[in-house]
Each structure stands twice: as structure tokens, then as C-alpha cells.
């Protein structure tokens, strides 16, 4: 079987050139989807019968929570590919996924807190899902901190890849134990799950927002990874040529 396509995926140069071609289209798609979803969700979707307009933060809260978790698995998968096939590129993707994922997890917690104030009457509740999101944020912090703690880049890559994988094994355990802990301790005043299933008029903009956030995530990941590629490959000829060409363009722009 011909595996060259697989190894070409591991080339930073190939990634850089391909994303240069695809990024404008992907960014356009993300902008269109996000603005459609936002205008539709915030302006035209019907009000919630009980929560009024405050429910509209769901259009940010749900997509960020989705991607916070998906981003962790993507990061761990990239780390695993790096460990198994020793691809430079997948380590760069892993490193780039960590800050984006941490930011999205923070946003999910933040929007949840903002939403919690009008509906539950408090910014923070020790609810099972909130607590597991907080632990997810700590897992991201661990990977980020470990990555930057090593002076040797190679060792930092491998260590944080293993940590991401250990975290992946632990996520279901953490989730189940927090869930169990919550049913043990939680007074029955607040129920997250008792909200009625969504009306299609509310759900359709949410779907658009989720798709939009996925596109945004890919764009952000590509941009972070491109910077990382340039930083790590700065001594190669193709980056040198790229830098020379862009500084030439800047010069000619000035004239």
C-alpha cells in the first residue's frame, strides 16, 4: 500500500502551503456562519417561556462547551500521533490546541456563570457538569504548563503528549465520579436537565452556531499552528525565502 500521502501530511511545509490556500475560504465560512447564527439566535429566535431573553447566551455557551471537550480529544490524538509516528507537525498542532482549548473551556465556564445568575440566582454552583468542566480546565493548564516548563522542546512535546493521553483515560472516570458525587451531595433545588427539549425555532440557530464555532476552531488552530511552524522551522530555507519575500513586499508597499 502506498503511504506517501500519510507522510506528506506530516510535512510542515505542505501544511503551511495548503492552509495558505484554504484559510481565506474557511475564515469566510466561519464569519458567515457565526454572524448568521448570532443574528438569528439573538434577534429572531423566540423568547424562552420561563427564562425570557437570558436563555440566548446558550448560543455561545453550548458551542464553546462542545469544542472545549472536543478540543481536548483532538489535542490528545495529535499527541498520540506524534508519539507513534514521530511527526513534528502533530506536536505543533497539539501545542497549538492547548491554549485554544483552555480559552474555550474558560469561555464555557464564564458564559455558564453569566447564565447562572439570572436563572439560578448565583454565579457558581457545585453542579456535576460545571465541576467536570473546571477539572477539564485544570487538565488543560497542566498540559500547557508542562509544555512550557521544558527547555528541551522535544522532551516538552513528549511529556505533554503523554499527559494529554493520561488525561484522556481519566476524563470518563472524572466525569462519572463527579456525576456520582453530585447525586450524593446536591440538594434537589436546581435541575440542569429539567429544561424542556428545545423548539426547532431555537434549535436551528444553535446548530448554525455550533457549525460556525467548529469552523472558527479550525481557523484558530491553523493560525496558531502556522505561527508555531514558522517559529520551529525558522532555520530552514523555505522559511527564510518566505521571510525575504514578505519583507520585499513590505518594502515595495512603502514605495
Amino acid at each position: 500500500m502506498n503511504w506517501t500521502w500519510f507522510y506528506r501530511l506530516g510535512s510542515p511545509l505542505w501544511f503551511y502551503q495548503t492552509t495558505t490556500r484554504w484559510l481565506p475560504w474557511l475564515s469566510l465560512l466561519a464569519i458567515v456562519l457565526l454572524s448568521t447564527g448570532l443574528i438569528w439566535g439573538l434577534g429572531f429566535a423566540p423568547q424562552d417561556a420561563k427564562q425570557g431573553n437570558s436563555f440566548r447566551i446558550i448560543y455561545l455557551h453550548v458551542p464553546t462547551s462542545f469544542l472545549a471537550l472536543a478540543g481536548y480529544f483532538l489535542m490528545a490524538a495529535a499527541g498520540a500521533i506524534g508519539l507513534i509516528w514521530k511527526m513534528k507537525l502533530s506536536y505543533m498542532i497539539m501545542k497549538s490546541a492547548a491554549p485554544i482549548g483552555a480559552a474555550l473551556t474558560f469561555l464555557a465556564l464564564f458564559t455558564g456563570a453569566v447564565w447562572g445568575k439570572p436563572t439560578w440566582g448565583s454565579y457558581w454552583v457545585w453542579d456535576a457538569r460545571i465541576t467536570s468542566m473546571l477539572i477539564l480546565l485544570f487538565l488543560y493548564f497542566g498540559v500547557l504548563a508542562l509544555q512550557y516548563a521544558f527547555h528541551n522542546e522535544e522532551a516538552g512535546n513528549k511529556a505533554s503528549a503523554v499527559l494529554a493521553l493520561v488525561g484522556t483515560v481519566n476524563i470518563p472516570i472524572i466525569y462519572k465520579s463527579v456525576d456520582w458525587w453530585y447525586t450524593l451531595h446536591q440538594p434537589s433545588t436546581i435541575k440542569l436537565t429539567s429544561a424542556p427539549s428545545m423548539h426547532p425555532d431555537m434549535f436551528q440557530p444553535l446548530l448554525v452556531m455550533i457549525l460556525g464555532f467548529y469552523c472558527f476552531y479550525v481557523v484558530a488552530l491553523c493560525l496558531f499552528t502556522r505561527v508555531e511552524i514558522l517559529r520551529r522551522e525558522r532555520k530552514t530555507t523555505w522559511v527564510g525565502e518566505l521571510a525575504a519575500r514578505s519583507s520585499y513586499e513590505v518594502e515595495s508597499d512603502k514605495k
Binding site: G142, K158, G167
Partner: protein, 227 residues
């Protein structure tokens, strides 16, 4: 005749126990930490026995967790500095068994004494009587779990100069399921419920950790400590 794998386990278990025996002061410090910090609790919260009884089980568990974590940092650090870790890595042994031996020694020196001393803390923090047996049982299983997970963190951070804080950041999220079920075992005992349920889950976690953690530790040591 014993296989070479179990020889590796016994050799490293014996070696690490002898090392801690020679440096008793260092080996006893997690235990002293455990006892000393627990005196801060009545000073900081309240000396009222009724209020202390409410938080005693949780505080003992949190302190046991911190004591294990602080001592886990030294698990591989000394071996890394004097080069014996590298000798272990280049030896033809299966790395898993010596690693398990080292972790077992760590538990015998920290987790087991903590478990034995914990009734004293229970007394000082006026833990209800029904909580003592569940506390000791859950601490015995739970600290073994914490030693194994802490060893993964110690292996990850062994080549860092300031590994201690990093170790805490890395392993804290992994410790959370253990403290949930450890604390629950004691609480169930105090409330008069069947506390063997959460204890069994702690045991299951320990079984999984014994199977998986040494593999992860061995892999990490190979990956990160040889530059």
C-alpha cells in the same frame, strides 16, 4: 526459582526502603506535615467539636493527598540526579517491575504510616466514631492510588529543575476521583450507610492504576529523562 521480573521488583523495593531507612528525617517529613497541618484547621476554622466533626473526614483526606503529592516529587529526583535512573533505563530489565517496586516502597513509607496515624487525627478533629474504620480502609487503598498517580507526575517532571509545583499542577486533576470516593467512604460510614460500596470503587481504581500506571511511568521515563 524466581523470575527476573519479580527480582527487579524486590530489588528496587528493598533498595528504596533501605534508602528511606538511612534518611529517616526525610522519610518522616510527609507524616509530620500531615499531623502539623491538621493543627492549623481548628486554629483557622473553629475549635468547636460539632463543627469540626462535619469537616474532619474531608480535611484528613485533603491533607493525606497533599502529603502524598509533596513526597512524590522525590520518587525519581534523587535517582535522576545521581545517575542511577539512567543505569536503570539502559539495563536490559523490563522497566515496569522496578518502577512498581519503587512506587510500592513509596507507599510503604508515606501512605501506610499516614493510614496508621489517621485515627489520631480523627481524634483531634473529633471525627464521629463510626468514621474511623472506613477512614483507615479508604486511606489504605486511596493513598496507594495516589502514590501510583503521583509517580506518573513525578516521572513527567523529573528532568525539570523546579518540578515540585509542576507536579502539583499535573497530578491534581487526576487525584480528584480518588478524593471523591475516599471522602464518600468516610461520610457513608458516619451516616451509617453501607460504606463498602465506594470503598470497592476505590479498590477498582487501585487495580486499574496498578495495571496502567507503571506502564505509563516506564514509558515517560524513557521518553523524557534521556536527552
Amino acid at each position: 526459582m524466581r523470575s527476573s521480573a519479580s527480582n527487579g521488583f524486590c530489588a528496587y523495593l528493598r533498595r528504596d526502603l533501605r534508602l528511606s531507612h538511612r534518611r529517616l528525617g526525610e522519610a518522616a517529613s510527609p507524616l509530620i506535615f500531615f499531623i502539623m497541618v491538621s493543627t492549623l484547621v481548628p486554629l483557622g476554622i473553629t475549635p468547636d467539636p460539632a463543627s469540626l466533626a462535619l469537616v474532619a473526614s474531608g480535611i484528613i483526606w485533603v491533607l493525606a493527598l497533599l502529603a502524598t503529592m509533596l513526597s512524590a516529587n522525590d520518587l525519581f529526583a534523587g535517582d535522576y540526579q545521581d545517575g542511577s535512573l539512567e543505569q536503570l533505563l539502559i539495563s536490559p530489565q523490563v522497566l515496569v517491575m522496578p518502577v512498581l517496586g519503587k512506587v510500592t516502597a513509596h507507599w510503604l513509607v508515606t501512605g501506610l504510616p499516614l493510614t496508621i496515624v489517621s485515627p489520631l487525627l480523627g481524634l483531634m478533629l473529633s471525627l464521629p466514631e463510626a468514621g474511623y474504620l472506613p477512614m483507615m480502609a479508604s486511606l489504605a487503598l486511596g493513598t496507594a492510588c495516589l502514590s501510583l498517580l503521583g509517580a506518573v507526575g513525578a516521572a513527567l517532571t523529573v528532568s525539570l529543575q523546579k518540578g515540585g509545583m509542576m507536579l502539583a499542577l499535573v497530578v491534581m486533576p487526576l487525584y480528584m476521583p480518588v478524593i471523591i470516593f475516599g471522602g464518600a467512604t468516610v461520610q457513608f460510614g458516619i451516616d451509617g450507610l453501607a460504606w463498602t460500596g465506594p470503598l470497592a470503587i476505590l479498590g477498582a481504581m487501585l487495580a486499574a492504576a496498578i495495571a496502567l500506571c507503571p506502564l505509563a511511568i516506564a514509558g515517560v521515563l524513557r521518553l523524557t529523562s534521556i536527552n
